[in-house]
Every structure is written in C-alpha cells, then in structure tokens.
C-alpha cells in the first residue's frame, strides 16, 4: 500500500482545482506572457489525468518563479538557478511524482546553465519550462542571456556586445530527449506541447516565449508565429538529430530578425530515462526511497552487519 495516495488517483479533474484559493489572481503585469504558461498548464494537467497533489512544481527566482503561487500543486519555489537540482532529486526520491520545473531565461540559461546542461544530459524524466522573455524582468529590465545582440538596457547602455545563447541547440547537445519551443501568443500549441512534454519519458525542455510588455518593449509580441510542423515551408524529421539540429539553428538565427518559429524540434522516444538507466546498473531501488520510510514491513539494514570487513 502506498503512503502517497494522490499519485495515480483515477477521478474527474476540474481545471479550477489548479487555481489556488489563497492567490487566485496572479500579480504579473497586464499582457505578460507568463499568463500563457499558467493557462496552458491548467489546461494540460487535467487532460493528461494529473491531480494537483501528484504534481510537484519546482521554480526558480524571477517573475516566472511565482508560477507555483498561482498553480495549486505541491510547490517548491527554490533559489535563483537551482530549480533543476531540487526537482530532479525529488524525482529520484519518489519517481512516481509528476515533476515540473520552471524558471526564466536568466535563471535556466544563465545562473543555472550548468544544472540545465547536466539535467538534460542525464535525461531525468521531468518537464522543464523556460519562460523566455529575452530580458531580466523582476530586476527591471537588464540584458539576459537570450537578449539580442545590440540590445540596450540599463546595464548594457551602449547595446549588448554579446550574441544571444542558443537554447534549443544547447539543449539538444546536452542530451534532452524532447525539445520544443512555443509562445504565449499561441495557446493551443502551447497546451499540446506541454501535454507532450509531461507525457514524455525523459527530459522534456520547452522554451516558452513569454513577451514582457513592461521591460522589453522592443521585443515583438512573438507574432506572427509560425508552427514548423504546420507550415509547408519547413520539412524535417523530429526524430532525426541532424535535421533537428539544423532546424533549431535556423529558428535561433531568425528569431531576432522577426520570424518567430515554434513547434517540436526533437523527440527521442527510444532513450531510457535516467531512473531506468540507474535501475539497470543496480543503483536505484525498485521501491521508491520515499515509500520505504512508511513501509511497516521494511527491514532496515544496519552498519553492525557491515563490520566484517573491518575486523
């Protein structure tokens, strides 16, 4: 018998269950792209059959970090850049949990970049949503790792001399097995992509373009957007790493020229997730670590039985 009975519970799920009674109204600025992420999650989660209490939403710091204040699941609002190591450990301690991590572009591609690379590399079975607004919003508009070259801000008064980081290519190189980009202005696609990401057995990375109407007035509203799966102008195989890499590169090249390409870029359904790999080498117990502490029949090993090697 499980000690975590919210997990796998079969019942009708109302979308409103995901709206917290304590803070039903987000404090994001009017017109903020973050509303789009929240809405697509509220739509996607019931559709994939997840109840609020079997989901752990782990966030970083920034406007995006407020996501779990407005999405009523188990939540962990961590520290800047560190949502991924917290989230992946929760998954290792209890692999039955549905784990979603989220943060901004500064959080995930800047200060937490090392964790992003390694979590993708290890292919943890979780979803990572990056609210990409190409700016630092909460600290009032400084240049971020995805800001376009030449972007002027209070901390780059003459325009940024740096080229923006390539989030999709970086993710693919690091080892993510599901890579997509969507935009707040494209709610239907966003919902579908979030659903796919949650259901994917491995590290699913969604670069979510979220316009910042307050601090990034230069930035477009990410319209018009083009869905690379639906457009006849693009034809590539999402399961082919080479073709995916090429499509990602093109997408990243044209974003700052005004062409907003979105959609699925890479889907690898074959590679085992980290939990499966770790089980295969014998370093992950069958029974989730978290369950064992509640298991009255568990027989706890003790160091006394390990002493022979020392005598």
């Amino acid at each position: 018998m499980s000690a975590f009975n919210a997990i796998g519970e079969e019942r009708e799920i109302d979308r409103d269950e995901y709206t917290p009674g304590v803070e039903p109204q987000p404090t994001w600025c009017p017109g903020c792209g973050d509303f789009g992420v929240l809405k697509s999650l509220k739509q996607a989660l019931p559709e994939v059959g997840k109840t609020p209490e079997e989901v752990l939403t782990v966030t970083g710091i920034g406007c995006s970090g407020k996501l779990n204040s407005y999405l009523d699941t188990y939540g962990f609002h961590t520290i800047h850049g560190r949502s991924l190591p917290v989230a992946r450990a929760a998954k290792l301690a209890n692999p039955e949990l549905e784990v979603i991590a989220a943060g901004g572009d500064g959080d995930g591609y800047g200060i937490g970049g090392n964790h992003f690379i390694h979590t993708a590399r290890e292919n943890h079975d979780m979803t990572y949503i990056v609210f990409n607004n190409e700016i630092f919003g909460l600290t009032k508009g400084q240049t971020s790792p995805t800001s376009p070259k030449g972007h002027k801000s209070k901390t780059q008064p003459s325009g940024s001399a740096k080229s923006p980081l390539r989030p999709l290519s970086m993710s693919l190189n690091a080892g993510a097995t599901y890579v997509a980009r969507t935009a707040a202005v494209n709610p239907n696609q966003a919902k579908e992509i979030i659903k796919e990401a949650i259901e994917h057995d491995g590290f699913a990375h969604v670069d979510f373009l979220t316009q910042c109407p307050t601090w990034n007035k230069d930035a477009r509203q990410y319209v018009p957007y083009i869905d690379v799966q639906e457009s006849d102008d693009y034809d590539f195989d999402v399961s082919d790493r080479e073709e995916a890499a090429q499509m990602m590169r093109e997408t990243e090249d044209v974003l700052n020229e005004g062409t907003v390409l979105t959609g699925r870029y890479y889907v690898d359904d074959e590679s085992p997730s980290y939990t499966e790999e770790k089980k295969a080498v014998g370093e992950m117990p069958e029974q989730p670590v978290a369950e064992r502490y509640f298991d009255e029949d568990a027989e706890w090993e003790r160091s006394y039985d390990l002493l022979e090697r020392h005598t």
Binding site: A3, F4, N5, A6, I7, P20, G21, V22, E23, P52, E53, L56, V58, I61, K66, S69, D72, T73, Y74, G75, F76, H77, T78, I79, R82, P85, V86, A87, R88, A89, A90, K91, L92, A93, N94, L97, N114, H115, I117, H118, K278, E283, M284, P285, Q287, V289, A290, R292, Y293, F294, A298, W300, E301, R302, S303, Y304, L306, L307, H310, T311
Partner: protein, 660 residues
Amino acid sequence: MTIHSKGFRHGETKFRIRLATWPLISMSDDELIWRVSGGSGDGIDSTSQNFAKALMRSGLDVFTHRHYPSRIRGGHTYVEIRAAADEVQSRGDGYNFLLALGDSFARNPQEEAYYGNEEIKPLSENLDELREGGVIVYDEGLLSEDDVADLDLEERAEENDWHVYPVDLRGLAKEHGREVMRNTAGVGITAGLLDMQLEHIEDLMSDAMGGDILEANLEILHEAYEMVDEEFETTHDLRVPTGEHDTEQALLSGSNAIAYGAIDGGCRFIAGYPMTPWTDVFTILSQNFPDIGGVSEQVEDEIAAAALAVGASHAGAKAMSGSSGGGFALMSEPLGLAEMTETPLVLVESMRAGPSTGMPTKPEQGDLEFVLYTSQGDSSRVVFAPGTIEEAYEQTRLAFHIAWEYQIPTIIIYDQKLSGENKNVDVEFFDREPEPGLGTTLTEEELKEAAHDNSGKFERFGYEDNEKNVSKRSLPGQKGGRYLATGNEHSPVGHISEDPDNRVYQMTRRIEKLDSIREELDEEHDSNQTYFGDETAEYGIITWGSSQGAVVEAVERLNDSGHSVKGISVSDMMPFAEREVTEFLESVDEAMVVEMNATAQFRGLIQKELGRFGDKMTSLLKYNGNPFEPAEIVEGYEVNVADEDREPSAQVRIEPAAGD
C-alpha cells in the same frame, strides 16, 4: 555611542618556528609507533592498514595517523601506527620504528629541484621525529648509498642510539615476484625485528589476494622474516607489545563512522562532488547504498549537491550531502533554503587547511565560524563537532534524529585528521537498532486531522500546536497535504508573505527551535561533551573536534607528573553547550583553549555565547598542517600556566587572555 568589541584581542603572541627535536619528555616503553614511509602511489596506505589490523588482531589497541601530499604519484608520504596494550587516543609523540620504503615515483633531482631530493625523502624527512633508541629499516635497493651517506646517518645514529638495518627489499621482492612486493618484504623484516608472529599478517594477505600473487607475497614475507634471524646482528631492545581484547574489535576511520552513523540514522540518499578529505564519506556511502536501497548521486558541482539533498528530503528521503571548505562555500545558498523552508537535511564538512585551496591534505580547524554562520540572514542550524571515531558515529546518528525531528539542517564538522585516522572500536558498540523514522512528518491519515485553510491547502507553517516550535510537514504526493515551500518569508500555507506579524512569528519560531533542541540534548541524551582529568583541578584545558585525543593524553601526563588539570572536549557548537561549558569555566581559575587554527575561533565562540570568561582563557594554537602531539600541549601548559620563562619549542602559538 561607543561600540566595544566583544571578542578577544589579538595581543602579544609568543611565536617561534623551529623544527621540533624529540623527545621532549620521556616516553612509554611498552608501545610501538611504527612509521612506514614512501612515495604516494606506492601502496603505503594499504600496507599500513593491513599491518594495523594485524596488530589489532593480536590484541593491541591501535591508532593510525596519515601524512600525505596533494599529489597522485610520488611525493613523500607516511602512515604511523601506534600500538599498545591500553587504549591509545592519539598519534603519540614522535615514533620508534621507521620502515623507509623509498619513493618509486620520485622525480630526478637534476630535472626539478623545487621539491628537493625526493628519492631520499622517505628516509631523510623522518629522522627528526625518531625517538632515541629507535629502529630504522631502509630499502637499499631504492635509496642510493651516496644519498644515504649525505645524511650523516651513521653519526646521527650514534648520537641518538638508533639501530639501523639497511636491506635490499626491492631485490628480495624482484627475486620472488614483482618489485611492488617490496612492501611485503618490509613488513616481514619489521615482524622479524619485533619478534612478532606472522599468523595475522598471513591471514590478512589471504583475505586480500589469491593464486600466484598470494603465494609470491607469502614467500617474500617468510624469507624476509627468517632473514632477520639468520643474517642480522640485532642490537635493539624494541619488541612488539602484547595485549588482549575482551571483545571483538573493528578498525574504523572517522569517515567510516560518519557513513555508518548515517546508514543507521536511516539515510538513503546522498549527493556530492569529490573533494579531499570529504570524498571518503561520499565514497563509502556510494559503495554501500546499492546493497541497502539507497541512492547516491555524483553531480556537476556542490551547489547542485546540496540542492539535490534538499530536493530529495523535500520529497521524503532522509538525505545528506557534504564537502570540504571550498565546496561547502558553494552550499551556502541551498543551506539557507533548507533553513527557510524547514527542510530536514544533514551536511558534513571535512575541514582542511585554508584559506582558499590552502593545504588540501592537511588538517586544520579553521572552518568553525564559516560553518556556523555562512548563508545570508540569521542562522538556524545545528552544528556538532565530533572528536573521536565513536563520537563521529553517535553524533551523525543524532544529526539525523535532530534534523528530521526539528526540520532543521544539521551539520557535522570534522577534519582531515579524524576523517582518515583509524582506531579499533568494540564491534558491539554498533549493535543497536537503526532509526529510520521521518520525525515530525505526517501520514495521510494524520493529515486529515491537520489544519487546512478554507481552500483546502495544508497549513504546513501554521500558528497552532507547534510543540517544540515545530510545525509538522507533509510530503508531495500525499493526499490532503499540498502546500508551497519557498525561500521567501511565507504564510501558514507557504505563500509569499511580508506581513510583519507573520514574519516575526515565523522567524522567532524557526530560531527558537534551537532552544527546544538544547533542551532535548540536555534532558534526553547523554552529553556530547567529553570530560577527562582531575575533577577537582583548578586549571582546565578546553578543546573541540579531533584535537581531543592529544589533549586527553596530555592531561593524563600532566596529572601523572604532579600537576592538577582537567579537560573538556566540546561537540555542541550550535546550539552551544552553554550550561556545561559555563560550569566547567566556573570551576577553574584558568583555562587554555587548544585548537588547530590561527585566530582562536572556538575561544571566540565561547566568549560570544557566554559573554564572559574572557580573562580566564588563553589559547594554544597550531596551524602548520600537522595535528597536535600530546607533548606540545604539555609544554604549552608549562609555558603558559606555570609561566616558565621560555618559548615553546614546537611550532605552536600562545595567545594571552583578553585584557592580558
């Protein structure tokens, strides 16, 4: 307003650097202190482990001390094994038997002179500390005649009554097997010279190897052993002591003890990044966890390591992480997150000489203030500093108990010395039940009765029923337990809140958990502080952590030689052992605080915590990379207290009392 500095003043210091010359005082005759020296990578560590175990099996108490450079291949290294019939608590003073094996990875001195002549170091570096009447065996197969001649060994041996036996260990090994077996030849010669039975050494060899390798080693062992009788003219008196154990013994290091305390405390998750000397604990648990249902993760950096431990604990695992100074610095932020979110967590910090990279393989007790206060805001954490192998086990277990009972990060601070030293412990010491409970974590059944807000969100940080200042927790996936954890200040259901009344309530409750913990430690557990010496003494020596052993031995010697001294070794750093340390200081006229750092951090902590006794306490400090030896503490006492008009001969520093 005038601000008075509360801490001690860096006053005049007595400071002297000189190579110590042994013996400073007379030594016990019924002990063997065997030092085996060679190069890093020459198997000195495993050879010494087996020899220590053989001595233990023969009925002796043993204690090992390891000295090694921060280098993989080559560089002078040694291990010392002290063995006697009665309990040995420290490495002792100097030593009386040297087996110099030679450094097979030594660099040619002509190519690179910076490190000196490395080939001769296993012999030359070890002569200063060899006691009068001591025995030297060196490998003439590796140490050249010219190099040995340059040391004036003959003359020095004459002066100090040393007994020198050059043997071609390398040649002997090559004749029967491979050159690496010269360690075995050295052990055989040692056993022969000490009249030691080979039985236990043979048993240990059979456990570790088999086939041709075992056979060749046994052959070499016997040939070397018999060579002593047949070919040597022996002149020394030193023999292996004899003893007997009442119960079965196990040879363990401090790192073993910490790892085993964690296992018995129910820990089944560890995340880490390699760094000397913390790596030992990480390795031991990583190797044991697959067999006992645990998960170990080696990750990208120490920020991740501590953050993983927080995440695993949040989801329901008893989790730990750890590092040494530089890596622990990266853990400051996740540590603060654990304090704020009241996530149970155990961290270990294995100190080495700092600042920065410092001396990676040398012990120091310089991270105390760092571990107590690192991370922004007011600290709410528990810190224990075990001083012995047994304390390392007990206090790690206790750390898991306290962390999960009070939902607070608990840190074990120890050092390179305790990490790597081996000592025999009664096997039955470990014969106790494990404690895998999750403390103040609710079950789904209990959650049904717990307080929720109107929308059904669990009041994880509620205002009611917080016995011992603890608000009970739920785990993700439990029905009826959802809440938000955040590093921001937060309301009862965990949502971000900057309401002043709520802030004061939550902050005060988190801090006052330390009062509740102090109460539990004082009333429900045996004291973590260790007392020794003459209870009626008017002079006290105070120490903490791994300096304990040398201080205990020094206090014994002082009392044996007519002084009246008592000692206390303190482990409860936070919440501080306020009552016990106050009582100790009130009971003496003067006290000397012994610690391995340059700024008297522990003495500063005592003054900060107690707010008085500044004029009663002096310090004996050592920070040259080597732990205290008992004679240095005895001498420190004589110079400091008996006010003898001389300076210490060892490389230590005496700090006067505040106001002196």
